[in-house]
Amino acid sequence: MKSYDGVALLSPVSFGYSRQSSHSAAWFIGRTFQSVIHGAGLKKEDIDGFAVTSFSLGSDSSITLTQQFQITPRWIEQFPYGGASGIIALRRAARAIQCGDADIIACIGGDAAAHRSFEHQASIFSGFTIDASFPYGAGGPNTAFSLITQNYMEKYGTSREDFARISLDQRYNANHYPAALLGHKTLSLDEYMNARQIAGPLHLFDCVMPCAGGEGFLMMSEDRARHLKQPYCVIRSAQELHNAHPSDEIQFRGGWTEFVNELYAAAQTGPDEIDLVQTYDDYPVISMLQLEDLGFCKKGEAGKFVQETDMRFDGSGALNKKLPHNTNGGQLSVGQAGAAGGYLGLNETLRQLTDTAVNNSVPKAKIGLISGFGMINYDRGLCSAAAILARPNI
């Protein structure tokens, strides 16, 4: 695969996270778009590529938004891939820039959260969902994930205390990230263990909280980014694979297993050299699958791994092994702003590698790995993606 050399990512924006909102998705996308442009010292007219991700645009789309925002892009895209959208947007936009199809691309994810909109989205998510999973208790994504979690626990002997490690360290990270919706609250092991039961082994702090919000970033050539005198980072490698392992009866791995070697080889690095990791964490078990499949530990051993590893951004935990993980609290503590959730880890990595993280910066971070997981359809998640980003010239 051709490298992603010469492409820069910059101007990460996380905008307007709120539990419920009367604003529509177009508002979140428009306001995020504005911040992304201004953050890089650009004007709307400078943007000639426009990519959008949203679950709640209704009858609008990236193309109708061009009219609302009065922009005239020569490259346009829409990525309805949930938690993998950020990395997929990054891959497509990088190629467009390398090929000269666009010079400056804005990638924006944004979702509204009107009252009861989540119920509606969950009930009509896909044909399979409507016909064959929603009628069975209408648990939304909690149902599929409780089945996956239950199976994982039985198969590998993982305990709730193991899952708690992920939720607790992430909450510590969120306590240092002001935009996190749950960042003002601490979380203790007792509170985690005694939380309200939601579905099978899943309790309250195992489940993401749907919310409204926007995430966005810019992509352009490294030359252009240098010219703008903006801090940026580069793509060492990026991969995706969809509907991987279709004959697995239940999900215990994702598409990462099939490209992990190539991912590290192209980036000339390995799991030991990664300074920070952002996994897609709608439920702790999914973060564990990613840590395993991306080579941080063997299959089935993520429970042991998290018990031995301090995952706080500042390494202030008691454990000796350190791996800053979901350094702004991840979706479990920040909130899941619909499909914008797929941009959250990417933007957090961008902030870390451009020294724009404020209270939660990972000391001396040079290289970061982001993983995306998206579209829980029927019994499993369909999209797997990962990218390795780095500071330029290291």
Partner: protein
């Protein structure tokens, strides 16, 4: 009105449903409706590709293997094993919310010997009650279809030793699982 006022007025309506009768989800795609119709009064009918002789579920427009549309409804035995099972303590749907207030709602994914993986309501009463938690991976079950009180066909997984060959036997199980009548609310409208 400020954003805050709009929020407040919306939250005012964030109350439990006042309907006297709540029923399971009615909404299906046209393929889901076809599945419901094909299964009325039978034990289990699944989509089958005439060319590949292979069952598939959920219902689809074309065969997953050969992509032909030579699909017919064919009787399936419904035997299989549990892949994973769970109990729901939370639901997005009023019918299940009311049921869950009485007891958590058990469901499972089942791998049918005939191929497909299905979601099913789990008839825990028919497993040894003391061993409900042992209803897990590899427990042998039988899956049959029946209509719920929304007149949509749904799948039930029960112990493979239970007699389900007659309509009466199947109806008895569905009634016991409280799927055949709405979830009532006293004083509802």
């Amino acid at each position: 009105m400020t954003t805050n006022d709009i929020m407040k007025s919306r939250l005012k309506y964030n109350r439990p449903s006042l309907r006297a009768r709540a029923r399971p989800p009615k909404n299906r795609t046209p393929l889901g409706e076809a599945f419901s119709a094909a299964n009325m009064g039978t034990s289990l009918q699944l989509q089958c590709c005439v060319d590949c002789r292979r069952f598939q579920y959920p219902s689809q427009e074309v065969c997953q293997v050969c992509l032909n549309d030579n699909l017919v409804w064919r009787a399936a035995a419904g035997e299989g094993h549990i892949i994973s099972q769970t109990t729901l303590y939370n639901s997005l749907w009023e019918f299940f919310k009311r049921r869950i207030k009485q007891k958590p709602w058990p469901i499972a994914t089942v791998s049918l010997d005939e191929g497909p993986i299905v979601f099913a309501h789990l008839d825990v009463e028919e497993f040894d009650k003391a061993k409900i938690l042992d209803v897990s991976e590899s427990t042998q079950v039988k899956v049959f279809s029946h209509y719920d009180c929304s007149m949509r066909s749904i799948l039930i997984a029960t112990s493979k030793d239970i007699f389900t060959d007659t309509k009466e036997a199947r109806r008895k199980i569905v009634t016991r699982m409280s799927l055949s009548e709405p979830a009532f609310r006293d004083g509802g409208i």
